[in-house]
Every structure is written in structure tokens, then in C-alpha cells.
């Protein structure tokens, strides 16, 4: 039974997400739509599994939820900060900086999430990854202390992602 279920639904989370997306697209909740969404949720991961051979071994949904809340809060704060910088700091006084973030994360999915989070939060854009995948290049819009920004990224986001994908 367990193996049959695993064969039918190799990515349970993805199936769930696809079902929810289908229902949001249809704008209605009815038994027929749930069943059709579930059928799509089974067919699509099965049909595309060739392109993602290595799925993360573990993924903690609870930790992911708290991480999402932290990120959403940071996005709101970051937007106000960046808007303030745009309106008040003249271009000539801006102190942009490159910072190099050494990575402890190894899974590509985790690094992608970290890079995306960095781009969406306080005045930072992730620009590049080292060839061996062990450092992330981040551009900061305006900072007096690049090292503090780097430590902030490591303790605030990377530590949490390490727990999610542990």
C-alpha cells in the first residue's frame, strides 16, 4: 500500500499545491473541481519527474510556515526602508557594496530559496553564485557595515533554511 501510494504520488506536497492552485484558478470549491485538481496533481509531477531526479530528502512544513512569516514581515519592513532610501538619500551619498556570503547549504533547492529571499528583502539583491556553489554574491543598496549585513543573512535566513532542509 505504502509503495503503491509512493508510486502514484512521488511528491505529495507538490500534488497538494497543484490541487490548491487549480481550485484558486477555477474560483470555486466543488467536489468535481477537487477531484480534477487532484488528477492534475498526480499527472503533472509524474510527467515532469524526469527533469528533477534529486528531490530534497526532507522538508519540514512547520518550520517553512514560520520562515514564510518572518520573510513576509521582512519584505514589508524592507520596502519601507528602501522607499525611504530612494526618496531621501541622494545618489552621490549612496554606499552600495558587494558582499560575499559563504554558504553552508548544499541542496540547489535550498540555495535557490535563500537567493530568492535575499532578493526580496532589505536592500539586497543576490547576483551570482560561485562556480563550486559555496558562496553567494550579494549586492547591497546602502550600508555602512557590509559585515553586519552578511551576518544578518546567515543568522536570519540561512540558519532557518538549514533547519527546513535538515
Amino acid at each position: 500500500m505504502g509503495r503503491a501510494l509512493h508510486w502514484l504520488i512521488p511528491h505529495p506536497l507538490l500534488t497538494l499545491i497543484l490541487t490548491i492552485v487549480w481550485m484558486l484558478l477555477q474560483n470555486e470549491i466543488s467536489a468535481g473541481m477537487i477531484v480534477f485538481g487532484f488528477i492534475l496533481g498526480v499527472i503533472i509531477p509524474w510527467g515532469t519527474s524526469v527533469w528533477w531526479p534529486d528531490t530534497p530528502k526532507s522538508f519540514r512544513v512547520g518550520k517553512m510556515a514560520s520562515f514564510s512569516l518572518v520573510v513576509i514581515w521582512d519584505i514589508i519592513v524592507a520596502n519601507i526602508e528602501v522607499a525611504w532610501i530612494v526618496l531621501t538619500v541622494p545618489s552621490s551619498k549612496l554606499k552600495p557594496a558587494w558582499i560575499v556570503v559563504p554558504l553552508q547549504l548544499r541542496q540547489p533547492e535550498a540555495i535557490t530559496m535563500l537567493a530568492g529571499t535575499i532578493t526580496l528583502t532589505p536592500g539586497t539583491v543576490s547576483a551570482d553564485l560561485a562556480s563550486n556553489g559555496r558562496s553567494l554574491l550579494v549586492h547591497v543598496l546602502h550600508t555602512d557595515d557590509p559585515d553586519a549585513v552578511r551576518d544578518d543573512i546567515i543568522t536570519r535566513y540561512e540558519a532557518r533554511l538549514l533547519e527546513i532542509f535538515a
Binding site: 526618496l87 526580496l120 553564485l129 558562496s135
Partner: protein, 123 residues
Amino acid sequence: MTAQIIGTYFVCLSLIIGSGFVLVGAIGLLKFNDPMTRLHAPTKVGTVGIGMLLIASIIHSFDIGQPSTHELLIMAFLFVTAPISANFIGKVNIHCKACDTPPPPADGDTWSTLDVPDQESER
């Protein structure tokens, strides 16, 4: 006050905040003069600006009695794709030397964008 009027107020508030953020994003794009700093304004301010406009749309749809949730999908896909386009623009800037050359990574490696085969050896 009925719920509908309160809803209308929230729609107005969201629209004002959203368009304010979008305006700031546009100002930032015009004001900064370096390609990399320019990238910051639209990627972040833009997402929250458009997010607030979409929230206004959701509240309005509930207000007029035709609930719509498509906006949540737009928001989700926007938040997933915005960093990727920013990342690509950043990579192009580094590759074309349009900005200061970044410091090398910690362990003597090179950035993947600058890790190109020699022109000579290719010939």
C-alpha cells in the same frame, strides 16, 4: 456604516499605498545612476506595490459579492519570478563589466558568471 462602505475604504487605502510604492519604484529607477543600484528599486518596491494593488482587487471582488482568488496566484507567481529576473539582470551587469567587479569568493574560486573559457583556447 455597512460592511460594504468599510470595504470601499480599505480598497481606497490599499490602492493609495500600492500606487505610492510603485511610484517610488519608478523614481528609484530614474534617480540612481548605477545599473546595480537601479536594480533595487523595482525588484522590491515593485512587488509590494503590485501586491497592495492586488489586495485592493481581492477586497473589491468580495465587496461586490463576486469573490475572486486569482490575485493570490498572481502574487505567488510574482514573488517567485521577480528574484529570478533580478538575478539575470545582475549577472548580465557583471558579465558586461557594467558595474564594479565584485570581490572573489572566499575559497579562491571564481563567480560562475566570470568563469568563462579563454577566448584563445576556444579558437
